[in-house]
């Protein structure tokens, strides 16, 4: 057990060293949500009696940052396979699980850091705060697991890994648009509303928004159950796809 923890820490260390080299990218991830809220959210005024659109959008955009970061994090695992680096880890006396867990933890840590940084900035001019911190954290963890796994699944299913970014945009854009990140799904037409209910990200956004600004559209129990199922299922699928990929 202690060996497992120390292996996970080693993988985590490597990931953080790598993320540390991408400061420009990290800065962009901080600036983008702040700018979106300043330029689009604030001028839009109020959504309900007590709800500013800036707060609503801010929470959604934070989730967007986490989701896209997580997908990219999943992709790096396959990148490691392709670049040959992973083999040097696979021959070491450590378990495969610790590799995947280390990767996901690194992404989780980064997401957390991002949410805290951006959230703190946004707190100055929106209502984003710590309404229910544990629920926000739960949404963050589930979405990170689920979407790191989605990144792994996408990358392993592609023949040409270079096309990952294009395909990822193609797959995620509908998920984003149909998730209530930008607008309440109640305002959606009937068909799109139903589609939104089929989208697991909708529940992540909903729970996260409740956790940060105390507003939600769906039953919280539904949010929790769907997210749990999504995270577990995706992680299992990704683990299987990854094992297959390694078996060649």
């Amino acid at each position: 057990m202690t060996a497992f923890v120390s292996d996970v820490m080693t993988i985590l260390r490597r990931e953080l060293l790598r993320y540390g080299r991408e400061r420009a990218f990290l800065l962009a991830q901080v600036l983008l949500p702040v700018l979106a809220v300043l330029l689009i959210g604030l001028p839009a005024g109020k959504l309900g009696q007590d709800l500013h659109y800036a707060s609503y959008l801010g929470a959604g955009i934070l989730m967007l940052t986490i989701t896209s970061g997580a997908i990219g994090g999943g992709y790096t695992l396959i990148e490691d396979v392709q670049r040959g680096f992973l083999r040097s880890i696979l021959v070491a006396p450590i378990s495969r699980t610790s590799i995947v867990v280390g990767k996901i933890l690194a992404r989780l840590l980064l997401s957390l850091l991002l949410v805290i940084t951006v959230g703190t900035v946004l707190a100055f001019f929106t209502d984003i705060g710590l309404a229910h911190p544990l629920l926000s954290l739960g949404a963050l963890v589930a979405i990170t697991f689920g979407f790191v796994a989605l990144g792994i699944l996408l990358a392993t299913s592609l023949r040409r890994t270079e096309s990952f970014r294009t395909v990822a945009v193609f797959v995620t854009l509908p998920l984003y648009l149909l998730s209530g990140m930008f607008f309440p799904i109640e305002t959606f037409p009937r068909v799109t509303y139903l589609l939104a209910l089929l989208n697991p990200l909708t529940y992540g956004v909903d729970l996260f928004r409740y956790g940060t600004i105390g507003v939600h559209e769906l039953p919280l129990v539904a949010d929790g159950l769907v997210l749990l199922a999504f995270a577990v299922l995706m992680t299992a699928l990704a683990a299987r796809a990854f094992e297959r990929r390694l078996a060649g």
Binding site: A3, S6, D7, M9, T10, R13, R14, L17, R18, R21, R83, G84, F85, R87, S88, I89, L90, V91, A92, P93, I94, A247, G248
Partner: protein
């Protein structure tokens, strides 16, 4: 299995869909041996290394490292392996030192700092240790891979064509470094198609062709099995020499090339003196000889010629 070999395989088979990469490989390598697996492109060298390193499942047969099965007892095998893969496997975004640091942690080494410094020193990488790997030359990267493979003091070191892309100096210094490790108990498993490298480093070699071992033994033994040293004689009257030579039982072949008499014998150093005595009347101006080398043996056993890039001609 009474005594445990450093590396042992029995009837090892690997099939990739339609390709039979290994067709029943039998190897038994003593601890401390410097062993070379030679073979043309596609012979199955990398496949054998991947199986032995626990990365690839064999289709059938078994393989053991110090008595532990590479499929069923992976955790027992892995700590003993040091590997330089044929293709690069460093993290190019990290520096050389960071790569070693991560590796040291994965193997749970103590005194990581001192070990790393010493290894960097030995591989002449100290000056470039804090540069990103992506910015290093391919020879430096190769040395870094070797440094990493040796860092945890493995019992078996696998080198899959380690000197491809190295300049003459780097090649020699790697050989010298490996030479220093001889006798330390380290077992070397080297694959190569550079015959000079194999001849220089290996106590024993096996020649692999299309997934099968076609010859095995010390490089000298293989050369002797094949035979065919060449003696070249510049004579005043070469025509007269040919009939004479052809009657001699130890001469395998004789012909004239550019007015030089070429004689093929089994073992030149012992034949030379007799030959000179014999041909004195024809007026000897110069004598040269070339002993059969591992490359001749390789060509003989694989039925192929090989160019420097390892491609069959």
């Amino acid at each position: 299995m009474t005594q445990s070999f450093a590396v042992e395989t029995k009837a090892l088979v690997k099939r990739y869909r339609s390709v039979l990469a290994l067709a029943g490989l039998d190897l038994a390598i003593e601890p401390g041996c410097f062993f070379g697996l030679l073979g043309p492109n596609g012979a199955g060298k990398t496949t054998a290394v991947s199986i032995l390193c626990t990365l690839l499942r064999p289709t059938s047969g078994e393989a053991r490292i110090f008595g532990s099965d590479v499929v069923d007892e992976r955790p027992a095998v892995r700590p003993h392996l040091g590997i330089v893969f044929q293709d690069p496997s460093l993290d190019t975004e990290l520096t050389g030192r960071e790569n070693l640091e991560i590796h040291a942690r994965l193997y749970r080494l103590s005194e990581r700092g001192t070990r790393i410094e010493r290894m960097l020193e030995q591989m002449a990488l100290t000056r470039d240790a804090d540069r990103r790997v992506a910015a290093l030359s391919s020879g430096m990267r190769r040395r870094l891979e070797i440094a990493r493979a040796l860092l945890h003091e493995p019992r078996v070191l696998f080198l899959d064509e380690p000197t491809v892309g190295l300049d003459v100096h780097a090649r020699r210094s790697l050989w010298e470094r490996l030479e220093q490790l001889r006798g330390s108990g380290l077992t070397l498993f080297l694959t190569t198609h550079a015959m000079d490298e194999a001849a220089r480093l290996c106590d024993r070699v096996a020649i692999l062709n299309e997934g099968r071992v076609v010859a095995t033994g010390a490089p000298q033994e293989l050369c002797q099995q094949v035979g065919g040293d060449h003696i070249e004689l510049e004579l005043d009257r070469p025509e007269e020499a040919l009939p004479l030579l052809r009657t001699k039982p130890n001469v395998q072949d004789a012909w004239i090339e550019k007015r030089t008499v070429m004689v093929k014998v089994k073992h030149a150093p012992t034949e030379l003196v007799a030959l000179i005595e014999e041909l004195k009347p024809q007026g000897i101006r110069a004598v040269r000889m070339r002993e059969v080398n591992l490359e001749d043996a390789f060509v003989h056993f694989t039925g192929h010629k090989i160019d420097t890039a390892g491609n069959l001609e």
